[in-house]
Each structure stands twice: as C-alpha cells, then as structure tokens.
Symmetry: D4
C-alpha cells in the first residue's frame, strides 16, 4: 500500500544519485559508483580524501578525482539515461580563497546534476567591496545565488541587499579562534540584516546545491 | 554615480515595505504605516505587542490587529499602486499548536505580499505521522514548502523526504530546557538528513516568507 | 556491616562483566578478559581500536574481534556459569549507514548479555519514510526499541509515535559542522515531540543496551 | 489506506490524554478538559500557572488545581471508560526540596495514568547519604526508578549503582550560575558512571512518567 | 612608596569621571554626581533607567536625562576645571535603527569627554549598501571610526575595507534567536575579514568611546 | 622600591619550583631542571610526553620519568637545601581507573613538595558505593581531600557529605560525547549539593596539589 | 547499622544550620528559623528577597534583615548552645562595588559561623592596582583569602600571586554581554595563571565561606 | 565608475601586502612572495608550518624562516619602493612564555610594516606582579600597547589600569580545559574592568599589529 502513498516519489525525480564518501571504504565507494553507472549518465562521490582516492583508483582507474574539491566522478554507461537539464543560472560566490574548495564541490555537483549555467565567482569578500561590485551584473543575472563565506559571514548579507534572487548562505569552517569551526559565520548569516537569505550547514556545498536545484526546478513547473 | 551601480534596485521591485515593530514607539509605527498607505495597497507591521497596539489604535483606529500573530495591518489608499501578484503555491506547515503564531505571521505576510495561494496546514508534527500523510497531496502541490517546527525539529526532514519543492525550515523557540530557546531545532534542521532544506533564524516566519517569495518570483523570470 | 546494606547487590545479578577498552593497555585488556573467562560464559571488551587488537591477538590468539563494532570477544571456559537468558525482543534501528557501528556494538552487547531476540534494522532514516513503514510490524513486536541516529535526530520521534514500547534514543557523532559532535541530535532527542523517549550519551550503544536489559528484566519480575 | 498501516495505533492504547498547558488560553484548556471528560475517567492539564487557573476556575469550578505541581485535574463523566491499571511500582526520588515540584507533577501524572503503586521519596540527595540508604528497601522494590535531581545531578548515578531497575533521570533547573538552567545536571546524568540510566529533558517530569509507564506496560505483554 | 610607582597616574589625566549607573540607588547616583560637579565641568551617569531617573530628578532637578541613551548629565560648577579638548574626528556609525541607543550613549560620552568633532552616522547597514557609500567621504575624514552593529555584524568588516582609520566594532544585543544576545555579531566582528578592526563587549558604547579617546590622545603626544 | 612592597615574597616560601612541560623543548626542560638541582633537593617537570622524555634522557640520563603520570624527576644536588616538610594528611581519591593519571601527577607533586602523608585511594566511584564506604576511615583522617573525577562528577559531592575536611574537586577530561572534554564534571562539581567543595581546572592535578599545600600550611601558622 | 557507618557525622560538627531561602515560602522560612532557635545561638536564612522578608516580618517581627546581602537573622534562644569559635583570619576582597552584595553574604555567614576575624576589603579591583597594594599587609595576615570578582575575574590571579594563603575565587554575575551571567569570570579564575586558587559557583558567597571554614578548622586539628 | 568611488583606496596606502599562509600550497606561497618582491621592500608570509617551509625553501632558498613565529620573510628587490616609516612606539607584552610565539609574529609584522620602535616585553604575567611593575617605564612610553595573554586573560586589565595608551588585547589559545581554546581569555578581556581595552581574535597577533599601525598612523594625520 506504500505505492498508493507514493512515499518514494522523490527517488524517481530523475536527479542522479550522489555517493556520500565519509564512513565508506574505498571498495564500497568504487562498487556503488560502478553500480550507478548503468542507471545515470554521470556518477559522483563527495568528500573523498586523497588517500582514499588512491585506493579507489587502484580498483577502478576510470574513476577520476578533483583533489581540490575532493570529488570523484565517473562517466555513466553509454546507454544510461541522460541527466535532465535544470534550466536557469546558479551563481556561486566565495568570500575568500579559503572558501573555494566548498564552492568547487557545489559547482561540480550542480554541473553533474544538469544545471545549465553555473557561474563560480571567487574571492569577492567584503574587505574589498569593489571586487563584488565589479561583477555585479553577472551575479544579478542568476536565478539563485549561493554565497560561500567563512569568518565574519558578511558577504551573504551584502549580496542579498544587491540582488533579487534567493540567496543560499554556506558558512565555512575557514578561520580559527572565535570562528569556532564555522559557528560564527553560521550564526551571522542566520541573523542577516538583509531579507532573502536562507542557510545550510557549515561547509555544506553539496546540500546548498541540492536546495538550489529544487528552487530552479520549482521555477519550471 | 550610485545610480549607475543601481545599488538601490531591490527597493524598486514592487514588494510592499513592511514595518519591523520591535524598538519602535507606537507613535513611530503608526506614523510610518500611515505614510506607507499612499505608496502601497496594503501596509503591515510585525512583532507588535498587544499593549503597543492599544496605543497605536488610539492614534489611528483604522489600523487593525491580529493579536495571535502580533501583526498590524492597514489598507492602502484607494489610489495606491496594487501589490503585484506572486504566482505559485506556498504551503506553511506547523509541527505543533505552539508553532502556530510564527506560521500565522508568515502566512499573513505572504498574503499581503501578493502570494496567490497560501496554505496553512497546522499541527502535522511527526509524533502522529498520519496527520502529515493524510494531507500530503495538498503539500505536494506547493511550489515552496515552509515548515515551522520547534522542539526536536524533525518535521522539516520528514517533509523534505516527501516533496520535490524546496523546504524552508523555521525553527521556533517553543519548548524548554534542552530546547535552549530554539537552538535545538535550529541545529537539528541544519543537519537535516534529507536534501533540499534551508534554514532561517529562530521564529523568523517573516524572513522565511521573504525568501519564499524570492523563490517564487525566480520561477517567473 | 556493608553486607547488611547489601550495597554490592548489583554485582551479583548474573549479568556478565564487560571490559571498557579506552585507557587500558592491550596487556591489561587481555589479562582481564582471560580472568573473566572462568567466571562467565562469554567475555567482551568494547571500544578497542584495530591497532590495540593487533597487540591483544599477539598475546592471546583466541580473542576475536569485530573491527566494525570495535568489540573483542572471548568464549568462556567450559565450566563457566551460563549467562541467564533475558526474555523479550530488542529492536535496534539506525537512521543511516554511518550510525551502524554504534548499533552493532549495542547488538553484540545485547546478544552477549543473553537477550533472546535482538533485531538490527538498519538505514531506516526519515528522509525516506517508506523504509521505516515497510518494517513497522517487526519494530512493533519489540518490547524495547533502541533508535541510533545522528544529524537531525528525527528518527526517535517518528518511531516513538508509531510504537507502544519504550524508545531509547542513542544520538551519534555522525555528521559535521552544526552537528557539533553529536550535540545536535542529543538536544533534538531530549526535546522529542513524541512521548516515551529517553536518551543516553552520544555514541553510547553499550549503555543503551544495559538500560534496555534492565527494562526487559523488570518485565520478568 | 492509513488504516492498514495503523499509524494512529498509539492513540488507541487506552492511556488518558493529557492537556499541555503552555501556550493555551484558559478558555482553551477548560474547553479541552470538558471535552475529554466524556472519554476518560480522569482529565489532567500540566504546567498551568496560578493566574491561568484562576481564570479556568471561573469558567468551570469543578476543575481542581495543585498549585505546587501546577496541575489541573477534573473527574471524568460517570460513564467514561475507566483508566486501565498499570501494574508495578514506580519510585520517584528527589535530591532536594527544590526538585519536589517536578516530582509531584510526575507522581500526579502516574497516578492519573493508572499506575498501581507510586512512591514519592523526597529529599534523599547525596550530600547526606544516610537519607537514601535508610530508604533503600523501598526503592529496591520498584520496577522503575525515576530520579529528579538538579545542581550536580549526582543522585541518579548513586541510585543506579544500588538498584536493578531501570533508572530515568530527570535533571531540573534548580540552582544558579554554573547550573545553567539545568544543563549541568543534564550533562552529568548523560555521563553517569553507573549503567542503566536514561535521561529526559530538564524539568520533564511528565515525559519521564510517560516513559516509565511504557516500561511498566512492556512488562505486562 | 606608591607615589614613586605612580600607579594612580591614570586618575590624573584630566578626563572627567563617569558614573556607572547599574547597581547604584538613585540617591547614590545623585550624590556622586553632585560631588563631581565641583571637580569637573560636566558630569555624566550611564545606563540609568527611566524610573531611576524619576527618583533622581526628585532629589536634584538640575540633573538632566536623555531617555533614549539612558544617560544623566549635570553641568559642572562655574569654577570647575574645564574638560581638556580631545582633538580629532570620531565617526560613530550604526547598522540599524535598533543600534542607535548604544551609539547615542557613545556619542554623548565622547562629547562630554571633550572630543572635538563627533559624527553620528545612523542606519547605514549593509543591506542597502548605497547608504554607506553615499556618506563615505564623511566617514573617511574620521581619525577613529566606531561601528555599532548587531545581528550579522557585517558593517564593521565592510567599513574597515573602505577606510584607513582604526575601526572599533561595538556588537549589540539587537535581534533574537541565533543572535544570542549579541554573541553572534561579537563573534562575527572578531573574525572580520578586513584588517584594522578591534572589538569591545556587547552594547559597550561607553567603553568603545573611552578606547577611541585613548587612540585620539595617542595622536597628540 | 619593590623590595619594600615585597611583591616577590611568594618566591621565597621554600616550596620547590616545578617546570611546566608544555611548549618547552626537551633541551629547555633538561637545562632548567639541571639549573634547579643546585637550589632545591628535588626537581620536577610536569606534562612531559614520552617522546619528549626520550630526548630529555638522551641529554641527561639521570632525569627519571613516570610515564603514567607524565612527570620527570631529578634528585637535587647533595648540598641543595632540603624541602621543608608540609605537615598533615592529603587524601587523593579517584572515581575511576581512567582518572588515575591525573591523581598520580597530583600525588607525585605533593610528595616532592614535602607533604608528609599522601594517600592515593583509587577507583572509589559512586557506581559501587561500598568501595568508598569501606575506605571511609582512611579518608576521614585526611586534613585535605582531593577528589579526581570525570564523567558525572558525582564523587566530590558524595565525599564532601561524608568528611569534615575541605574537598578540592579535580574534574577530568575522561569520557566522550556529553562529557564535553571535562566541562560536564566541571559544571557538576561547581554545583555540588554538599558544602565544602572548591574546584580547579579540568585535569589540573598539579594545581589542586598546590592549593592543598597552601591549605595545609595555613594550618601550621 | 547506619550509626556504625556514622554517615551523619557532618551533621554533628557544631556548625549552625543555615536556611536556604529560594523555593521556600515565607511561612516555611519563619517556621524553620524559629525551630532552629532552640538548637543554636544564631539562625540565618540566605537569598531572601525583600518582598519575602516583608511577609516573614509580619509572621515573626524578631527576625532581622540585611536588605543588601538579602540575609535574615534571628538570635538563638538564651539557653541554646553557643557557636564554637573558628580561629583564624578570613579576608574577603571584592573587585568592584557591584560584587559587594555577594561578599556581604559571605562575611555575614562567616561571622554567624563563629569565624574570629572576618575582614571585608572592598573595591580593590585591578584597574587601580594601588588600591590592592595599599591594603596588602591586611590581606597577607589572613589564613584564607576569598576574592569576589565578576567581569574579567582578574583579581584572584593578582591576589594569589601576592599572598601565601589559599585563595577561594567567587566569580559573580556582575556585568553584561560577554560576561555571560558570570561564566566569563568563572572560566577566567579556573585558568588562573597563579597557583593556589580554587573556585566556587557564580555568586556563591555562602559556599565559599563554608569551604573557608573547613580550611580554617583543618588548621585546628 | 568605481574609480570615482575610490573603493580600492586602502590598497594604495603604502603598507606592504602580507601573505596569509594557511590553505595555500608551498608553491603558491613562494610564487606570491616572489611576485611581491618587486613591489615592496620586504615580503612576509604568516602561519607557515615547518614542513611547509621545507618545501618553500626547496623552491626558493632566499626565503628565510622564523620557526618560532612561523613567519617567512624575503627581502624586496633592490629597486622596490621602501616601506614608509610608521612613527611611534609599539609595546608588545606577553603574560607567559607560552604566549611568546603569537607576540613574535606580531613584532615581526610590525617591524616589516615599518614601525619605528617595537618593544617586546615578555613574561610579565600578573602571577608575579613585580615583573610588570619593574618595566612600567618602558611600557608607559609606548603609543600603543598590545597585550598577548592566554589562560585568565588578566594582564590586559592590569596593564590598562597603569598606562594612558590604548591597549589591544590578544587572547591566546594557551592552556587547557576551561581555557576552551582561548575563549576564556577572550571573554575575560572583553569584560575588562579597566577602560581603554579593545580585543582581537584568539592568537591574532598579525591582526592586532595591523590595528596598532592604523592607530599609530592616525596619530600622524
């Protein structure tokens, strides 16, 4: 009778499945990725450490790796169903260079999930405001804006004051001392003085992308 | 030269301005609301306590009050420009009766902001799962789902596993002890095991609505 | 005169003693386990890291190891008194795969302690509700239900709303950022909106089992 | 099809419903209590402040009040179904006099829920150990032991070392400064050095009773 | 011999003494202010609540009151030594209207302490960046810039990226929920991504002014 | 003129100086210990890790090491002035085996500082009350009682209720999860329901000893 | 058999019993104080609010009140046994005027408990070091030094560096913002860079006195 | 049009750029330092770990390293513009030896930035007050005083009471337990009982220097 309730509906939305790396052995990651290859045109595993990848590569050399974003990817089988296109523009901004790895994970995920236009706009933190203002036109074209920022978490507020699109803030664990592993920018972004900001967990670039996609798809209904 | 940068663009998007009540005198609130009456077809002030409203009413009897949601409203002048319609469906769910005031503030705001279809679905917390499941069809039609939940903050996760739309979690300060004024559901929803959940500040029904509207409007672009 | 007070009564209840691994040398663990072999039909040490076990095995090869649950076991001497049977059904549920190690520790402990029927029901987190609902009959037969869940800690609440048995929540340190090493699910489960949930320390699968056994034994009085 | 899943089963277990007072108006509390009178032989509302009760009494004089435990009670209608008896002994211990209100709420709830033998053993905190030891026989007869303790939260640990029954710790908000509103005994009891202790939220005497009843009923299956 | 060490030197720097209101009776405040009148050309008491002032006024009608900044002032006796002039420009910025009371306390203190040019620039929060940019010339002329900001605490970072002067951040307790009484902007400003920001306690406008004056006086040495 | 103030008086009380290991190189520790050898009859360094000691031993083989307490010791030169005897009895109790290293550091320090009678009474935690009660006579003879306890921090309260001497609680970082690195027993002991308990920092066995010695010496005045 | 264990021994040490006010009705406080009058030469109740005292006085006019320290006192009956003298000197220092109420409670308690020489040395905080240094001789004569200090909690460290006696730090809840209700000075004093400091709970002047007395009495054994 | 706004003005103040080490590869650090060599007379990278420097040296042997302060330096090219002199005296005090590394980073930065007179005054913590008092003349000559202190964070308060110059407190992560990684001295210094103290992030010697320089330069305007 569960079919009637259709509780599993979200599993059939056509979005590729993604493998969450932490707590899995290299063998498990490789095996799941290979199994997914037949079902989707692109396969991805997140939060894979370099030494874990070394062992994955030994098992399956065709699995590729982005060491910076700590993401494994594998092309789907030739006859796997194509990933549906997600229309719209997603802008991913970072406050500082140290936030870049989280943003890259987000951007790679978005592209794999079929987002049409993903724009990574790095290092536009508020300490040098002209950096953001000079790229404002690009940012304003986006349908969803993701802002990856640690330390003071000021960029999401500034950004939300300048654009009409919904802003997803991704606080990061960059910093030390009173940054408290990202709690400081997390709390700051939850208190944003600008409207239109919602927040995800610290360093959660992947989750921010999944929410952004749900927003973009809502627009297509 | 600021005009060129168009930094004030968000002020001209057509959304009505809303008065934030806390820290303002009754005189100030009444004065601002009256001033806004000529510029927009509906005027609203949030977080107004009953005793403050008593004094507002003495100043301007036409200002109405929803004591439960603590919201003041005032009809715009006859020739004020109409609020643009925001197309789409916003579902506002609450876990328990105690979360209702925050949800009402959100729903009132959404209606005033022109959202076409606002559905308040109250008291569907996870302790009695059939309550949510029996109303699942209504929830699934929504383009954006807001979930207002205190205590364990479990409803946003359960809900996000059942719908395709983006979910905005609004943790509330309902509860006592380890609820820590809402920090407990705030942390829980930031760690949602379901994808597609973003979070706003504790009790921030107003802010959640503003983000929901940005999402709905993105869909219209 | 202490005998009169019988303060040591709990030491003579027949439950096997268990060795707590942390802070003990491999030599100490092996020595205590060997000493217990004559007094009880099964001997167990918890929270033993792989490299510690390597050294234990060198000392006493008959000590076995479950690397996943990090538990060492040793069969009792042939003439050791048998462990008394604990009647009833203990269901151990996990929200996600990452919670499994804690659940395994709990299940291994329960079996060693003589629990008649231990059911490990893994990966039934609330993000995919049908997983739990499809196994609800099994869960409802249990006399005590243990729910092992990190991140949002939502499963204990959902589960307690569906069963009559007492629910013991075991929050886990799975997750990152706002999970704060398990404080987030700990606080969430303490605020469960469903009645009948009590909570133990983060990752404390062993302690949850000991409480479950006390509950099962109370039923036999 | 929900009937098949029987998700509402817990609602038909025969336990009386209890009204949670906070956030409800006096009118609402009175109305709900009167409505329940026909369905159950005893009706109860918890966490009702004296000034709220004053207004409830004006509405319905037959509703009685325990000002110390802040509990309202109302006898059921003559033909309301009787509350099923819950067999077994529940001992409710308090560390200090200041913990007594929470314990009273627990004891009143237990009696209303049909618990056969409820023993309130007050003021046996560990600063004067002889107080607990002199009443140990009574405590040891209990099937479930609830320990209500604020400040250092030491009593649950001491008690669990002396009895075989499961111990439910109820930390209280008694104290000041480093007691942090009850977080100090909450954390202490979660770290109990004795096995067999589970914990509920701060001041949650009601919830502890509901869990105790589930434990007692498990024994009857 | 203490004279030799001159440990009391700071007491003789010529800055007027200021009365800290909290914990003092109206009688004490009035008495101390009257006593100081002969020794300094202006006398001030901070953090005085309206009802306290009512009683102060009854004792000494010449004591004046700024209800918004909660500051009492009293002119010095005609022959009291004049306050030495502190040369330079102090700009006091606020992010939102709700931060204004703290800023006013700071500005009143600065003027009483003899600061030559005190500029209060209110409501230039980052949600509407053009507000700050349009007043940038005024801000840049300042020798010390104090930024009073609650909620996300983003303004000090933005401001420090735009000026050469030292920036003193005063986080405020404005806000709710995750603002945690000002801890959120406190942590954010301590993690400012811009250099040149130092921080004082939450709502400590008075202390920020005292530090600003020490900076301005250092410039005169 | 400082001589007159005699600010350095504590340096001339005759107590041996102790070297704090952390942050010092092996060379520095060895050098300081050798320098102290001429001035005092026993020399000690605390918190020295095994690998640091390996390098110290290579420099000066006569420096000995207690690997468990992580303490280095060196006999003073033959003509070094003897350590004055500190009269009285210091009892050092531990709750569990895991607290023993901190207690050993305390006991070694006390002996080196000349305390006449140091009694280490290990593993008398409250989960098995008879362990403490059976050694109560020994404990009651002490002039100062130090209680080293992690997890629930219950032992200091129980102990203070049984003895007349001042009790110094040393919370330890033993435990996991809600033990929060020792904050849980720290808070618990600060809230002790028994009078006569003062507290030192987590794991600070050395500091507790220094305070105990000051108490013992006060008795000799 | 408890007599043999003599667990109640501390109750017979001759120290007067003290009534803890919070959570007791005026009637209860008066009744207990009157009952104690026959058994001890002085009776005391702590933490009694003014409005509670008003009602106590109506019941028993001979009960006196120190509104500042919030302490009630009552002379014992003529034939009540005299309080044993506690020999030695207790110095009670405060950092600021706002800490004085806590210090007064401590001093009144000490005098009632029979401490021979109690010295209250107020307002010697480190911001004006000469205040402490000018009274150093008095402080150094003390056998036990209690330091009552909120805000930065710096005075106990400075003081412990200047005296040989044990120092008991009493952090206070004076201050605002980052003082976090006294957690800031509590943590600071636990980390004192000077040896010989032990700490009690925030505002716990009464408990600090009880520990001080145990230290003074230890000296008499 | 940004030029008109001159938002980049701070980039042209003449202060050398400094490379922030964390999160950068050795190759990146070396490359940026070499690039800066032509533009400024001295180049610096902070927070460089020894193993990172080993690889930097392999790339560019002329880059030097201070292993204690973890700072890399490189002389500018012969024709690089000289660093402008910053007039005035900066005193950098440390409470204990363990704070020295942070202070050294600050002092090295200050010298590289052109500060005329940088005075490092180490190990003058308040546990031995004579150490600070004996060097008070030196400290009082400074135009800005930086105080680097962990643990109780008492030195900034004591120091601010003795000097007229602005005091910048740098809390450090020195210590353990209740030091909570530096939060304890951070909170203590934010609550300084002395006026004139502002605070930077934990261990942020670099940031404190940058603020100090802004203060010194303000004096030159």
């Amino acid at each position: 009778d569960f079919a009637k309730l259709d509780l599993g509906r979200t599993a059939r939305t056509g979005l590729p499945e993604v493998v969450w790396g932490p707590g899995k052995t290299p063998e498990q990651i490789a095996k799941i990725m290979l199994a997914l290859r037949d079902r989707q045109s692109a396969v991805m595993a997140t939060r894979v450490d370099p030494e874990v990848y070394e062992r994955i590569r030994a098992i399956e050399p065709s699995i590729e790796y982005d060491a910076f974003a700590r993401v494994c990817t594998l092309a789907g089988a030739p006859d796997a169903p194509p990933t549906p296109v997600v229309r719209g523009i997603l802008a991913v901004l970072t406050a500082g260079t140290a936030d870049l790895a989280v943003a890259e994970e987000a951007a790679i995920t978005a592209r794999l999930m079929g987002v049409e236009d993903v724009r990574l706009i790095a290092d536009v933190g508020v300490a040098g405001l002209q950096r953001l203002l000079s790229r404002l036109d690009e940012v304003r074209e986006a349908d969803v804006v993701m802002v990856v920022a640690g330390m003071d978490g000021a960029l999401p507020s500034v950004c939300a004051g300048l654009v009409d699109a919904p802003v997803i803030a991704v606080p990061t664990s960059v910093g030390y001392g009173a940054a408290m592993g990202g709690l400081s920018p997390l709390m700051a972004t939850l208190n944003s003085c600008a409207t239109g900001v919602t927040v995800v967990n610290i360093d959660n670039g992947f989750g921010a992308t999944m929410s952004a996609i749900k927003m973009l798809r809502a627009a297509e209904r």
